[in-house]
């Protein structure tokens, strides 16, 4: 497939070029240019469901949050001077393939001496509006709040979610690549581990590690000639949080509520057809809400699900058969990618002692 007129620019926005933009920051300028282009295109802000920024300085997810855009596709285009043009190409691919309908490509430079002059860095709000209140490190803080609210709304208990960590540790015991291989823990060990920030206990929080992951993707035609059993990609979808915790309507709903329906619809299968799942698991609560939002478990019922379901590789619905990030470790941004690798490994039938029997159809959330 090539572009060949199948994608087009329908609106433009430009701010005057000046030596500096006193009083303005990068996100402010991005917003001004975005408003102009959206107006010019005769669409509404709510129609924009994709965003592409220069990803190195202006993180697309942060820009989307700052502008209050409800996007399901966001990516960077870090190609120096060609970032904008490349962004248009990426946007064309996105709209031609159903990842988004209207992609905003937007790039700015403030040259505001009060902000460092060159617009380097994009520090966000945390240093000004959160750090003075002593948050827990990184994402721990927000997921503690999400956990607390899930408990309040659905009666979820810490005893129930401790099964997530315990079952995955069982799975990791037989994974030679897992940081916690051969180190068993019990359900009670999880409940006895100390609080990092209530309700999150130490064994419900991921361990930062080093590592790497990779796959080779090829066409179905070439895959058919492979010596390996291929793991075919049947569908895919993307999602991003609408807003940060200060404005999103419900903090216990994850972006999987948006990405999973797209992927399932593309695949022609329903959640009921899935035989296993490899799901992003920086915290027990995050994995839990994502499993709900994917439709694998009804919303609010994840607690009883983990109480009554064996999710180890020996169980009726295996989840994170390599231990997941919670027990295999989180090698930075490769952490989520590992879920893809393990799903392919299971489908190819190459998971060794932890090989699952029903391995035709699985769902991955990275």
């Amino acid at each position: 497939m090539s572009f060949r007129g199948e994608a087009a620019i329908i609106g433009i926005g430009e701010l005057p070029t000046q030596r500096t933009y006193l009083g303005k920051s990068m996100p402010g300028l991005l917003g001004d240019a975005a408003r102009l282009a959206i107006h010019d295109a005769h669409i509404n802000v709510g129609d924009v469901d994709g965003i592409i920024t220069e990803g190195g300085i202006t993180y697309p997810a942060f820009v989307a949050e700052y502008l209050g855009l409800s996007v399901r596709f966001a990516t960077g285009s870090s190609m120096m001077g060609a970032s904008g043009a490349t962004g248009v190409a990426l946007a064309s691919m996105a709209v031609m393939n159903g990842l988004a309908n209207y992609v905003l490509v937007v790039i700015a430079q403030d040259r505001n001496p009060a902000l460092g002059g060159g617009g380097e860095g994009f520090p966000g709000h945390a240093g000004e509006f959160d750090f003075p209140y002593g948050p827990a490190a990184g994402a721990n803080n927000g997921y503690g709040q999400i956990y607390q609210r899930h408990m309040e709304l659905y009666g979820t208990t810490q005893e129930q979610l401790a099964h997530v960590a315990a079952n995955q540790r069982f799975n990791a015991l037989e994974n030679p690549n897992a940081v916690f291989k051969g180190q068993p823990i019990t359900h009670q060990d999880v409940l006895d581990s100390r609080y990092v920030n209530y309700p999150l206990r130490l064994l419900e929080v991921v361990m930062p590690c080093g590592g790497a992951a990779a796959v080779i993707v090829t066409s179905a035609e070439r895959a058919a000639a492979s010596l390996n059993k291929p793991a075919y990609v049947l569908g895919g979808g993307t999602g991003l949080d609408d807003f940060g915790a200060l404005q999103k309507p419900e903090i216990t709903v994850s972006p999987v509520a948006r990405s999973a329906p797209i992927a399932l619809n593309m695949s022609g299968y329903s959640p009921r057809d899935m035989q296993f799942a490899q799901f992003y698991d920086c915290y027990t609560i995050l994995e839990s809400m994502c499993l709900e939002d994917a439709g694998l478990v009804p919303k609010g019922e994840i607690g009883p699900f983990f109480e009554s379901t064996d999710t180890t590789y020996k169980g009726e619905f295996p989840i994170n058969t390599d231990g997941g990030q919670l027990s295999a470790g989180q090698p930075g941004l490769a952490g989520g990618f590992r879920h893809v690798v393990e799903a392919a490994r299971q489908i190819m039938g190459r998971a060794g002692p932890r090989q699952i029997e029903r391995n035709d159809l699985g769902m991955v959330n990275g």
Binding site: R35, D130, F131, Q247
Partner: protein, 148 residues
């Protein structure tokens, strides 16, 4: 008090000009946030663009608000990201939903150690802003429980 305060003070790095009215308000022990005239809603933290509407700055109006709201959710910090906070742990870091409709983050003051450790704070608990002068320069917003 100045020399002793070792915990994080606000660092307005994103755009100090834009957030200045917020901090000028806290200094007077008043809560001022921006009202988006086109979207008819309050929002926080301060921005140059109305989130969700892209309303330009001319139509974002600084407004004094009630300073009352309720607990949307919270987490109790046993292991703070910054060591300077460790002596106070555990303490509560909460999401507050203002009566005017947007959310803020902050600590809950006047809670005993037992109250924090036993997780007695309830979702939807009514709270109001209290203003804490942490240095001669900076006043931050915390929250205390109220009856209604």
């Amino acid at each position: 008090m100045t020399a002793e305060y070792k915990k994080a003070v606000p660092k307005p790095t994103l755009n100090p000009e834009i957030s200045a009215p917020f901090w000028a308000g806290t200094k007077k022990h008043e809560l001022w946030i921006q009202y988006d005239k086109r979207a008819n809603r309050f929002f926080y933290p301060p921005a140059e663009i109305g989130p969700g509407s892209l309303t330009p700055i001319e139509d974002l109006v600084w407004t004094k608000v009630s300073g009352k709201g309720r607990i949307h959710s919270y987490t109790s910090i046993y292991q703070p990201a910054m060591p300077a906070f460790a002596e106070e742990a555990p303490y509560v870091h909460a999401l507050i939903e203002l009566d005017e409709g947007t959310r803020m983050v902050g600590n809950i003051v006047d809670m005993t150690d037992d109250e924090v450790r036993n997780n007695t704070l309830e979702i939807n608990q009514r709270v109001e802003a209290v203003f804490v002068d942490i240095t001669p320069e900076w006043t931050i917003v915390k929250w205390r429980r109220i009856d209604d």
